[in-house]
């Protein structure tokens, strides 16, 4: 059963709240930002002339074991995906004026985001210990820049979520200003869809 969303609106030429339109235009520009980084990764994929490499391979009779740990990254991807579910449940809660639900789902989303970041920090550290750095080879440069910037976006998202959670705890978010939660949600879901693309193109397609 659908219910009418209660969001603070005001008259604009488009009928869309200016903040929401601005967020969508920002996300559209972010498409190009990540598109450039993903394109660069794909451009230099399999172009490294020395290791470490992302996957197992034999070059000139020398066997190199790959760095990617697909089961581990799959769990990270699943965690981020589920954080999108908790985020949208937070929005659904505040649209019903369920402030307790909002706090719970916002906290869950932030925790899942932090879990993803911890996984990424662990992965980066493991790769570094295996000899992969920003300037070790083309794989290192393109991989770290792409996933690092994504991680930076997730970090910003976690900060926004924690700020909203504190505001919710203080009773400053109601169904009247649920748009604040919706805007944070749009950003968070965007970060999630970017990871959907990265997970497939970078990790699974080899």
């Amino acid at each position: 059963m659908a219910h009418a969303a209660t969001v603070d609106e005001h008259a604009t030429n488009t009928g869309i709240d200016n903040r929401k339109l601005l967020m969508w235009l920002f996300l559209a520009s972010e498409c190009l930002f990540f598109g450039g980084l993903i394109g660069t990764y794909l451009l230099y994929r399999n172009s490294s002339i020395e290791g470490p490499y992302p996957t197992d391979r034999v070059i000139d009779g020398v066997a190199y074991s790959g760095l990617f740990d697909i089961p581990f990254t799959s769990i990270s991807a699943f965690v981020l995906l589920m954080s999108s579910v908790t985020m949208v449940l937070a929005l659904s809660a505040i649209q019903r004026n369920d402030r307790r639900g909002l706090q719970i789902w916002l906290a869950a989303t932030a925790l899942l985001g932090m879990t993803f970041l911890a996984g990424q920090a662990f992965e980066f550290t493991e790769f570094y210990n295996e000899g992969l750095t920003l300037n070790s080879n083309l794989f290192g440069t393109t991989f770290f820049v792409l996933t690092g910037f994504h991680g930076a976006h997730v970090s910003v998202g976690v900060l926004i979520l924690l700020s909203l959670w504190i505001m919710a705890r203080r009773g400053r978010i109601t169904s009247e200003n649920a748009l604040n939660v919706e805007l944070a949600g749009l950003y968070w879901h965007f970060v999630d869809v970017v990871w959907i693309v990265i997970f497939t193109l970078v990790y699974l397609l080899q």
């Binding site: 059963m1 659908a2 219910h3 009418a4 969303a5 969001v7 603070d8 609106e9 005001h10 008259a11 604009t12 488009t14 009928g15 869309i16 709240d17 903040r19 929401k20 339109l21 969508w24 235009l25 559209a28 498409c31 190009l32 598109g35 394109g39 794909l42 230099y44 994929r45 697909i70 089961p71 799959s74 699943f78 995906l81 589920m82 999108s84 579910v85 949208v88 449940l89 809660a93 920090a121 662990f122 550290t125 570094y128 750095t133 920003l134 690092g148 991680g151 970090s155 900060l159 924690l162 505001m167 919706e182 879901h189 999630d192 869809v193 959907i196 693309v197 997970f199 497939t200 699974l204």
Partner: protein, 156 residues
């Protein structure tokens, strides 16, 4: 965890400038700490409040239409989880190696579309928002086609 902490604390100057985890992580932690500090200070932070609606303006389309309820969001979440499981399973099936690229791209696109349409509410909101986002996606597609084709990159 302790091992990770030991590695982090044992960083030398050279490692700091080589390891992206430090290069990106430490500034982010600093920003995070600053953000947390600001969030916890008793400064009154107010979101900008929208102007009250004026009757002479007509709202062409209510931006947030009827959003789905929580149960529908959970259903979509379960579908996304299943698709992710299928993606990983397909990755390990040797017999599907020939079709791996097509299968993974289709599954990935399905997840992308589900999140954008349901969780980001593009299915329910003003179409102008879909147009704005599609514009960004089209520009990415143009970038990919031009750069990757002219410079010879390949997904296979």
């Amino acid at each position: 965890m302790l091992e990770l902490l030991t590695v982090v604390l044992a960083v030398d100057g050279k490692a700091f400038f080589e390891n992206p985890a430090y290069l990106l992580g430490i500034p982010l932690i600093a920003v995070g700490a600053l953000g947390a500090l600001l969030a916890l200070t008793p400064i009154e932070l107010k979101w900008p409040q929208p102007a009250p609606p004026e009757e002479e303006y007509e709202i062409l389309d209510h931006a947030p239409g009827d959003h789905p309820d929580a149960a529908e969001y959970v259903k979509v979440g379960l579908i996304l989880a299943v698709i992710t499981a299928v993606e990983v399973a397909v990755y390990y099936v040797d017999a599907l190696e020939g079709a791996l690229l097509a299968i993974l791209l289709i599954l990935s696109a399905a997840k992308f579309v589900l999140v954008a349409l349901w969780f980001m509410h593009l299915r329910f909101d003003n179409r102008l928002l879909s147009i704005a986002f599609s514009g960004g996606m089209l520009l990415v597609a143009a970038l990919f086609v031009i750069v990757l084709s002219t410079l010879g990159a390949s997904l296979v």
